[in-house]
Point group: C2
Chain length 378, copies 2
C-alpha cells in the first residue's frame, strides 16, 4: 500500500490521479490532498476519500468543512500546501499544481525525503539546478508525469548516458497549428482552448497553442535528463501518438507511443517500476513528422535561448507567460499579446547567475504582479 | 578486446560483421571464421585478418590455402564449423550461417560456454526448446542479430515479463507486396531478389517475398522472448523504419526504429550493453502501418500453425522452404511453387512431440533431400 499526497486534486491531472487511486484501492491510499475553489468538487473528494489532511485555498469556509469532516485536519493556502507535504507519514507526493505555486511544495517534499511524481513543470523550469542538487542531497527520486517526459524517461531505461545522441519531444502543434501568423490576429480564447488531441487544463492548453508549453518542456527535459540543449529536439507530430523519442549514437531510435490519455503517464509515475492496466489498445495507421518551425513559434525559440542562459531568465519567461495567459483568458490581451509580453519581459530583464530559491520566488512574484497590474489598470 | 568467431564470413551478414570488426580494431579480434566458395573473397579475409583457425567448404584447395597462410589452422566442411566453435579460447560466436547447417554449431558453442550473436534463424526455428534448455544449463547468452528481434529485445530492456501485452514484428512486405495473388503467377527469380528496403542475401530476400521470413521470425521470437504465439503479432510497415514494437498492459508502446542497415543490429549484438557509433541519422517523415493479410501471405498463417504445434513441424516447414527456395533460384519451380511445396510437405507430415536433436537433424536432411530429388528428376 503506497500512501499518496495529491497537490492540485481538483485540476485535470489531479482528477485523473484520483481515478487511478480509486481504481486501485489495494495499491494506493490517499492521505492528503489540496482542494480547489469549487465546493461541490471538494465535497466529492472529501466524502469519497477519508483524508487525514486537506488544504483549502482560503479560510473562508474552514468551519463548515471542519464540521462536516471532523476527522480531517484542514490547512489553508500556500502555507497549507507545505503542511501537507510535511505530514509525518511517508508517501509519494503527486505535484499536480499549475504554475509557479508548485515550486515550494516540491522543495519541501524533497527535504522531507518524500519521492515526487511531478506534473508541475514550473518546478524544474524555475529552479531545476537547485532541485537536482536537493534530490541528490536527500536521495529522493522524481518521476515525471508530463507525457513527453514520461515517454523519454521510458526510452532511456537501461541505456548508458554517453550513448544518447539526442532526445526528441514531439508537439501536436496545439489548437492553431494549421493557421499562419497573420491568421492568429483574430483568434479567441474559446478557439485557443480547443486542443486537437489532448484534454487538459486551460493553462497548458493555451501554452500548447503558443508552443510555450514545448518551451517549458525542453527546459524541464534539460533538468530531468541532465542533457544539454543541443541534445534536446522538438518535432511536429500531429497525431500525438509518439510522445517522445531517444536517438542513440549507434543509429537506434527508441520511441514511446500511446493514446493521448494522461492517465497512462500518471499511472506509470505512481506504479513505477510496475505497470498498471489500461483498457484501450493503440491502433496504428499513419504517423507523420515535420521539422519544428521556429519562425512560426517564436516562444519555443525563446525558450531555447532562455534555457541556455539559465540563471533567473527561465523564471522570468515562465512568470511573464503565466501572467499573460491569465490576461488572455480574462480577454484583456489578444492571443499574440501573450508572445509580445513574454518576449519583451525576457528582453528587458537583467539576468542573474546562480540565483537562490529566494531570488527565484521573489522574481516570479514581482514579474507576475507588475504585468498583471499594468494590464489590469489599462 | 573481445575475441570473435565468425561463421558465414562471406555471406551478407558475415561481410558486414567483418566491416564492424575492421572499424573497431581495439574492441574486437577475429580469431576464427568459416569461409565461402569464392577464393578471391576468402583471400581477402585471410590476408586482412590473421586468423588462428579458418574453415573451408571442401578440402579441394586445402594445400594451396595452407601454403599461402601457414599460421592458420584450416578445417573442412560442417565438421570444420564445429572445430571453429570448439577452438580453445573464449570469445563470442557470430553465427551468420544461412539455413539448417547453422543449428549444430550453435549447440556446440553453447556447450563450449561461448556466448552467441545469432543471425541464423533456423537454429531457433528447428530446435528452440532444446536451445533454450542448453542456454540455461550452460549459462550462456544469445544475442539476436535479426533486425526485428534486436529491436524487440531493446524495447523489452528493463521491462517485467508480466507487463508485456504483445510484441509486434514489422514486415516490409518484400518484393511483391503491391502484387495480388494472381499477379504472382508470372514473377521471376530476378523480380523476387529485388527487395524494396533491405540489401540481404538471396535466401532471406526470397523468404521476404513469400513472407516465410516473417513466419520463421515469429517462431524465432517465440523462443527468444518465451512468449506464446497469441502475444506475437506481425504488421505491414512498408517503410521498414520501425523494426519492432512492444505493447505493455498499461497502454504504453515502445518502438525501436532505425535506417534499414543490418550493421546496426549486428554491432549491437557485438557491443552489448554498449553502443557503437553509426554515421547516419534517421530522418522521420511518415510511417504507415497496415494489418497483416494472412490470405495474401498463406505461409505466414502456416508458420503460426506450425509454431503452435511445435515438435518436428517447424523443422519440416523450414526444410521444405529451404529446398523450395533453392529450386526456385535454380528456376526449377515457380514462385508460387514455393508455397505449394511448403504447405503440402507440412500437411503430409506426421508430427512428433519432444524431438531429440538427432530427430531434428535427420528430419531436416530427409525432407530437403526428398524434395530436391523429386524436382531435379522431373
Amino acid at each position: 500500500m503506497k500512501y499518496i499526497y495529491l497537490l492540485g486534486a481538483t485540476g485535470s491531472i489531479g482528477r485523473q490521479t484520483l481515478d487511478i487511486i480509486k481504481d486501485n484501492p489495494h495499491a494506493f491510499k490517499l492521505i492528503g490532498a489540496s482542494l480547489g475553489r469549487n465546493d461541490k468538487d471538494n465535497d466529492q473528494i472529501l466524502s469519497e476519500f477519508p483524508l487525514e489532511i486537506a488544504c483549502l485555498r482560503t479560510n473562508e469556509k474552514l468551519n463548515l468543512y471542519q464540521k462536516k469532516y471532523p476527522d480531517t485536519t484542514f490547512t489553508i493556502g500556500t502555507e497549507g500546501l507545505i503542511d501537507i507535504v510535511k505530514y509525518p507519514k511517508p508517501g509519494l507526493v503527486v505535484n499536480a499544481l499549475s504554475g509557479s505555486v508548485g515550486l515550494m511544495p516540491t522543495v519541501v517534499a524533497i527535504k522531507q525525503k518524500k519521492n515526487i511524481a511531478l506534473a508541475n513543470k514550473e518546478t524544474l523550469v524555475m529552479a531545476g539546478d537547485l532541485i537536482n542538487q536537493y534530490l541528490k542531497d536527500y536521495s529522493v527520486t522524481l518521476f515525471p508525469i508530463d507525457s513527453e517526459h514520461s515517454a523519454i524517461w521510458q526510452t532511456l531505461a537501461h541505456e548508458r548516458f554517453e550513448d544518447i545522441e539526442k532526445i526528441v519531444i514531439t508537439a501536436s502543434g496545439g489548437a492553431f497549428r494549421d493557421l499562419n501568423r497573420d491568421e492568429l490576429n483574430d483568434v479567441t480564447v474559446e478557439d485557443a482552448l480547443r486542443h486537437p488531441n489532448w484534454s487538459m487544463g486551460p493553462k497548458v492548453t493555451i501554452d500548447s497553442a503558443t508552443m510555450m508549453n514545448k518551451g517549458l518542456e525542453i527546459i524541464e527535459a534539460h533538468h530531468l535528463f541532465q542533457l544539454p540543449y543541443e541534445k534536446i529536439e522538438t518535432m511536429l507530430h500531429k497525431e500525438s501518438i509518439v510522445h517522445g523519442m531517444a536517438y542513440f549514437k549507434d543509429g537506434t531510435v527508441k520511441a514511446s507511443l500511446g493514446v493521448s490519455d494522461m492517465r497512462i503517464p500518471i499511472a506509470y509515475a505512481l506504479t513505477y517500476p510496475n505497470r498498471s492496466t489500461y483498457p484501450k489498445t493503440l491502433d496504428l495507421k499513419q504517423l507523420t513528422f515535420q521539422a519544428m518551425d521556429f519562425d512560426r513559434f517564436p516562444l519555443l525559440a525563446l525558450a531555447y535561448h532562455v534555457g541556455r542562459q539559465g540563471g533567473l531568465l527561465p523564471t522570468v519567461m515562465n512568470a511573464a507567460n503565466e501572467a499573460a495567459v491569465k490576461l488572455f483568458i480574462e480577454e484583456k490581451i489578444t492571443f499574440l499579446g501573450i508572445e509580445e509580453i513574454v518576449i519583451r519581459t525576457v528582453r528587458q530583464f537583467k539576468n542573474k547567475e546562480n540565483p537562490t530559491l529566494e531570488d527565484i520566488l521573489e522574481t516570479d512574484q514581482s514579474i507576475q504582479q507588475s504585468i498583471i497590474e499594468y494590464y489590469e489598470k489599462r
